[in-house]
């Protein structure tokens, strides 16, 4: 598949003294979904938070190595810009409770103080909600608070909010772990549709989910990247013993 959007080379991450991620080498290809799997505490969240430089808000977090976005060192780019190019969807749906659905979608523009005309705003809101497969459900209630939506709808609202910024990469940190199976199914479908327009990195605990939606899978264990390859290959003929055990539910 396509060219590499993001390339991680020799990445080490520390929280104060503890060495959390060890010499990670990984790259994400354009218009693909890469699943990041591994047992709890292995560093999945830590890994994706270094990709949009959110780790900088964590006290004592420190990185070594290089991460390149389209060949450009991430740390040479303004972190504010990095976070606009690399969107993030969290485990727990987190729409802004004080804002309407409409304002939630364009929150990235509003909060940053970008001036947009009414027409531009309307088209961003509609476009993003359509892409997030939420438009039909909320189009008559755009000015109501987002907190009244169901959990699955709230999560799609958060996806729309991230899409509104036109990101190159969208990071999902266990986006469905707080949702029921139907809502989960909806988000999975959505991820499948979205990859035509951007590159997706999906942290998940759910092995079946990784098998359903991802093209590539990275398996992390105790801060090390144990195996990385196409999902198909990894799920049928894993190279590493640990990977095989994990996929067979021996631990996790």
């Amino acid at each position: 598949m396509g060219s590499k959007v993001l390339k991680i080379d020799g990445l080490n991450v520390y929280y104060d003294q503890s060495h959390i991620l060890k010499d990670i080498n990984l790259s994400f290809a354009e218009n693909t979904v890469t699943a990041i799997m591994g047992p709890s505490g292995c560093g999945k969240t830590t890994l994706i938070r270094t990709i949009n430089r959110m780790h900088e808000f964590t006290h004592g977090a420190r990185t070594e190595g290089s991460i390149k976005l389209y060949g450009k060192d991430l740390h040479q780019i303004d972190p504010i810009l990095v976070r606009r190019k690399v969107g993030m969807v969290f485990q727990k749906p987190n729409p802004f409770p004080t804002m309407s659905i409409y304002d939630n979608v364009i929150a990235g523009y509003k909060l940053n103080g970008f001036k947009l005309s009414k027409i531009e705003k309307n088209s961003i809101v509609e476009g993003s909600l359509v892409k997030a497969a939420l438009w039909d459900e909320v189009k008559d209630n755009l000015y109501k608070k987002g907190a009244f939506l169901s959990g699955g709808q709230q999560q799609r609202l958060c996806i729309a909010r991230a899409l509104a910024m036109n990101p190159e990469i969208l990071l999902f940190d266990e986006p469905t772990s707080a949702l029921d199976p139907i809502a989960t199914d909806r988000i999975e479908q959505l991820i499948n549709e979205l990859k035509a327009g951007l590159t997706i990195v999906l942290v998940t605990h759910n092995i079946a989910q990784a098998a359903r939606v991802s093209d590539y899978t990275a398996f992390l264990y105790l801060g090390e990247l144990i195996e990385f390859g196409t999902t198909k290959k990894m799920f049928t003929t894993p190279k590493n013993k640990k990977t095989e055990e994990y996929l067979n539910g021996k631990f996790g």
Binding site: N52, R84, N94, P95, P97, A107, G108, R161
Partner: protein, 282 residues
């Protein structure tokens, strides 16, 4: 045996219930007595003119408390203007920096500050502001009141903002919104009702303060709009007139007490409404 046991329990249950009701009512009684006593003593002093006239010399019936009313309003507005910005900033700082050495030190300092007796605040402001400037003034009174408001507001701001879940902050940061804009545009609005409630409660606390004004705002028999000049206030007027030997002035003091209590009550009701109406659910 069994039946007797149950009916015994039912009786016990009933007695206990009545006991609680009686206890609840009797703890509200003092408030009712206070209100009744003040209203019955002061209501005769209150008329239209009471709000618009100046106090009359002893011996003359009637007169009003316009000087004290306007003084209290100016004192509240000025002290709010002085106290709110730094107190809210302090509260933001304390809620954001939860565990650093400096913030723990500051947090303790704020707590100690809240415990300083108001008369001591009055003397301090006398020494720091009144003496150097050479005169009593509304401003010095407002500074004393602001010192009393500051810890209340910063504490309530800190507590409100601490309740806002971290993921709201992260949602904004992840959209590329800089930290300070996130605080101003996401965190503060989410905590607005709590912060406003804290401000109103701090105002209702200082509205009745007399001690810090004795050596600062001092009192003034006339209406004063100039904050560099002394000013009267409702509690000062009550303090001075209730201690006077004149019956007419006693009536004014009782009337002023009603007004003061009404203001405090109103502020409390407003704060309840704000915290209900504007509360943000997470």
């Amino acid at each position: 045996m069994k039946a007797g046991n149950i009916s015994y329990r039912i009786v016990k249950d009933k007695i206990f219930k009545y006991f609680i009701i009686v206890a609840a009512i009797s703890s509200a009684l003092p408030l009712l007595f206070i209100l009744y006593y003040i209203v019955s003593n002061g209501i005769s002093a209150i008329s239209w003119g009471f709000f618009f006239e100046l106090p009359k010399p002893p011996g003359e019936i009637g007169g009003g408390i316009s000087n004290a009313l306007i003084g209290t309003i100016i004192l509240i507005v000025t002290s709010s203007a002085i106290a709110i910005p730094p107190a809210v900033l302090l509260g933001i700082y304390l809620s954001e920096s939860r565990n650093s050495m400096v913030s723990n030190l500051v947090r303790n300092a704020v707590e100690v500050m809240q415990g300083i007796p108001s008369i001591v605040v009055g003397i301090l402001v006398y020494a720091w502001v009144v003496e150097p400037s050479g005169s009593f003034s509304t401003l010095s009174g407002a500074i004393a009141l602001a010192i009393m408001m500051l810890p209340i507001i910063s504490k309530s701001t800190e507590e409100t903002l601490r309740m806002i879940p971290h993921y709201i902050l992260e949602a904004s940061l992840a959209l590329g919104v800089p930290y300070y804009k996130t605080i101003l545009r996401v965190i503060l609005p989410s905590g607005l009702s709590g912060i406003l409630t804290g401000i109103i409660i701090s105002i209702s606390r200082i509205a009745g303060e007399t001690a810090p004004l004795l050596f600062t705002a001092f009192g003034n028999p006339f209406i004063n709009w100039d904050i560099t000049e002394p000013s009267n206030s409702l509690p000062l007027l009550i303090f001075n007139y209730a201690g006077s030997p004149y019956k007419e002035w006693h009536a004014l003091a009782w009337g002023a007490s009603i007004v003061l209590i009404a203001i405090v009550l109103l502020l409390n009701i407003i704060s309840k409404i704000i915290s209900k109406k504007w509360e943000v659910k997470f």
